[in-house]
């Protein structure tokens, strides 16, 4: 059948048109996306990269809830100025336990991939409660409600850990069962700070060109 003949058939047949669109639109995904989702090297954890402990996991989930990734990226590009400003550039093995990824697409605030250890817990506590108390020109919203809510307020930490374990995160029974207890007395603010301090501190094979901060 000639190309024009085929086309005449497609434009006169609803089923063929649907099928044609589906086939043509799938090629890109099959060649480009499918192989990367099957590429083990892209989700193998780098040495020292371990699943988030319960408190840090809750902190990360709060970070997601509040839409922090709207303004903060977690992706240092291999550019001199970025490595100087933020620390070692990002490598895929660091994100093996990131569901979902939080690379972001916008830096209204600074990148946070290497945030861990740059500021003290006390600084973060003040900053999250009133950013302009420590950075006068900051335009970040204040998050006063985090300090008033218990970290495990919905009592669902075990469900979260079990779900992640089903997705392949190696949490032991002991971690899962003691998680609720380990969160007792902690607030959401404690959890977010624990998460921020965790960021970027567990990539042991960080590239040499780390400028230090």
């Amino acid at each position: 059948m000639s190309l024009l003949g085929l086309h005449k058939a497609i434009e006169n047949n609803t089923g063929l048109l649907i099928f044609g669109i589906l086939v043509v639109a799938s090629i890109g995904g099959l060649v480009q996306v499918l192989p990367t989702t099957l590429d083990d090297s892209l989700h193998a954890p780098a040495p020292n990269v371990v699943p988030y402990p319960p408190l840090e996991l809750i902190g990360r989930d709060i970070y997601i809830r509040e839409g922090c990734s709207t303004c903060h990226s977690q992706q240092v590009r291999p550019l001199l100025a970025e490595v100087k400003r933020y620390g070692p550039y990002a490598r895929s093995g660091e994100f093996a336990y990131d569901r979902p990824f939080l690379w972001g697409s916008k830096r209204t605030g600074p990148d946070l991939l290497r945030e861990g250890g740059k500021y003290s817990d006390v600084w973060h506590r003040v900053h999250m409660t009133n950013p302009r108390a420590v950075v006068a020109a900051s335009i970040m919203p204040a998050y006063p409600w985090l300090a008033q809510r218990a970290a495990n307020i919905d009592g669902d930490i075990e469900a979260r850990l079990r779900t992640l374990r089903r997705l392949g995160h190696p949490y032991t029974d002991e971690v899962v069962q003691s998680a609720a207890k380990s969160l007792e007395g902690k607030t959401e603010l404690d959890a977010v700070i624990a998460y921020l301090q965790w960021l970027g501190r567990h990539a042991a094979d960080a590239p040499e060109e780390h400028a230090g901060h």
Partner: protein, 485 residues
């Protein structure tokens, strides 16, 4: 089917979708303007969680894209598919199910985003219960749409239906794959993909949600309503079809240009660049086809506000689809990525193309549905200039902001250290953020004017009943791109 079966077009559902689209456009733009104001006055959230920028901005994008954009697309596709098929909508009850399911999803989904149910995957932030609701409503939409085409009394399937059809099929595919997730609680799920792989899947979705919802769907709108409004046939039907297949094929590949210099394989990024550049061809083919279609009707621009909106939308479509491939080039992307330039680019597409073509279509459609002329042409003309001024201010301020950000961020001093602290750069953004807010408010005021104009146009009437034509359409041959020698 009994002899007395209802045969007239199901247009009340078009009115319903149009009304909701207008309401969502106003609410979505108010949320956007408020979020823009928070970047100027960060205290504006008053310590209220749902009003804080991270949540409000997510609400803004979702209400605008899925409330305003998708409602406008579903409504106009129901209008045009009946008229290009010469039959009443297939399964009207199912179409009404789509309407209620969709609007309920936007209302509850919008609330859930402000309440903090958020997957954080861009344009797919709604949590798993809503993902399922969207999938069900979307498949029902497909059944109604393709069911109508299957029962058509016209020969070849008209081109606008191809584009609307690609919207339905490809969005269904992207939505299902990107939202594969395991629920932990009612409001929290974890993605089936992790890290770099999650990023690649997300931008395959994210870029093509823009591609097929905000581009493909609206080209469908263009190909029905532009020829109607200009009272001219499409300049080149053949070009529209060649561009269609090129568009459907090449858009899908371009996603990784959102991940330049990120931790994904370089070949994926490079393929993303190449296909983004290729994409310029079908995009401009459509733009040129649209402009040439109006070429014999320029005089109408003086008197017809609807056509004016559509032509300006085409200009912005051309601009945004030129800027897009340029931003996909890695050496340009180094400067634009993570900056306000991206935000400006999105808005030249979303305001300049999507909103303007929708407004133009509504200025044509609502008087047709109401069966009487537009309440005020003067108000529509004022809306046109407010919208244009608003967009220009918005894009120009974001160009300035984005370029300043990257130049300041990447600047090194003589010792090779970064020259400016991050907060220096935040400080430099203040005038741009203020200008952007003014631009957004101008655009919003135009939208409010339109909403009032539409309300008055429709006040006191009901949707007009229209019967399909009985004759075999005379333009049957002209519509076919493949004429026999």
């Amino acid at each position: 089917m009994s002899a007395r079966a209802v045969t007239h077009y199901e247009d009340r559902i078009v009115t319903a979708f149009t009304a909701c689209a207008i309401v969502w456009s106003v609410l979505g733009m108010i949320a956007g303007a408020y979020a823009a104001a928070e970047l100027v006055w960060p205290e504006l959230n008053f310590g209220i969680p749902w009003l804080s920028f991270g949540r409000l901005r997510t609400g803004h994008t979702n209400i605008v894209v899925f409330g305003f954009g998708a409602s406008a697309l579903i409504g106009t596709s129901f209008y045009s598919v009946q008229r290009t098929s010469h039959v009443r909508l297939f399964a009207p009850w199912l179409a009404w199910f789509v309407f209620y399911a969709w609007q309920l999803t936007i209302v509850l989904g919008g609330w859930s985003l402000l309440a903090g149910w958020n997957t954080s995957k861009e344009y797919a932030e709604l949590e798993w219960p809503f993902d399922i609701a969207i999938a069900v409503a979307w498949i029902a939409y497909g059944v109604v749409f393709f069911g109508t085409i299957a029962r058509r009394k016209v020969g070849p399937i008209y081109i606008s239906n191809w584009f609307y059809g690609s919207l339905i099929i490809v969005i269904a595919m992207l939505h299902v794959v990107n939202n594969l997730e395991l629920p932990a609680t009612m409001s929290k799920s974890y993605s089936l993909f992790a890290g770099a792989q999650d990023a690649i899947v997300e931008w395959w979705y994210g870029h093509n949600a823009v591609g097929f919802l905000l581009t493909g769907g609206f080209i469908g709108m263009l190909y029905y309503f532009l020829p109607k409004q200009a009272e001219q046939p499409i300049w080149s039907y053949r070009l529209s079809i060649v561009a269609f297949w090129a568009f459907v094929y090449s858009y899908i590949w371009a996603g990784p240009h959102h991940l330049h210099y990120n931790a994904i394989p370089e070949w994926v990024q490079s393929l993303g660049v190449v296909m983004s550049l290729v994409l310029l061809a079908p995009s401009w083919a459509t733009m040129i086809n649209g402009i040439m279609t109006v070429a014999n009707a320029w005089r109408k621009l003086k008197t017809d506000p609807a056509l004016k909106f559509i032509v300006l939308a085409l200009a912005f479509y051309g601009l945004a689809t030129f800027e897009g491939p340029m931003l996909a080039i890695r050496s340009v992307n180094v400067m634009s990525h993570f900056t306000e330039w991206t935000i400006g680019h999105v808005h030249s597409g979303a305001l300049g193309w999507n909103a303007l073509i929708t407004f133009g279509t509504f200025y044509y459609l609502v008087p047709k549905l109401a069966g009487k002329p537009l309440h005020s042409v003067a108000m529509a003309n004022l809306h046109f200039w407010l919208a244009l001024a608003g967009i220009m201010l918005y894009i120009i301020s974001m160009w300035g902001a984005g370029l300043s950000q990257s130049l300041l961020w990447l600047s090194l001093d003589d010792l090779g250290e970064v020259r400016y602290s991050f907060v220096d750069v935040v400080r430099a953004m203040a005038p741009y953020y203020t200008l952007r807010l003014v631009g957004g408010l101008l655009f919003l005021s135009g939208t409010l004017l339109m909403a009032e104009n539409m309300r008055r146009t429709f006040a006191g009437t009901r949707t007009v009943t229209v019967e399909p034509p009985i004759l075999v359409p005379a333009h049957r041959v002209a519509m076919s791109p493949v004429s026999e020698p």
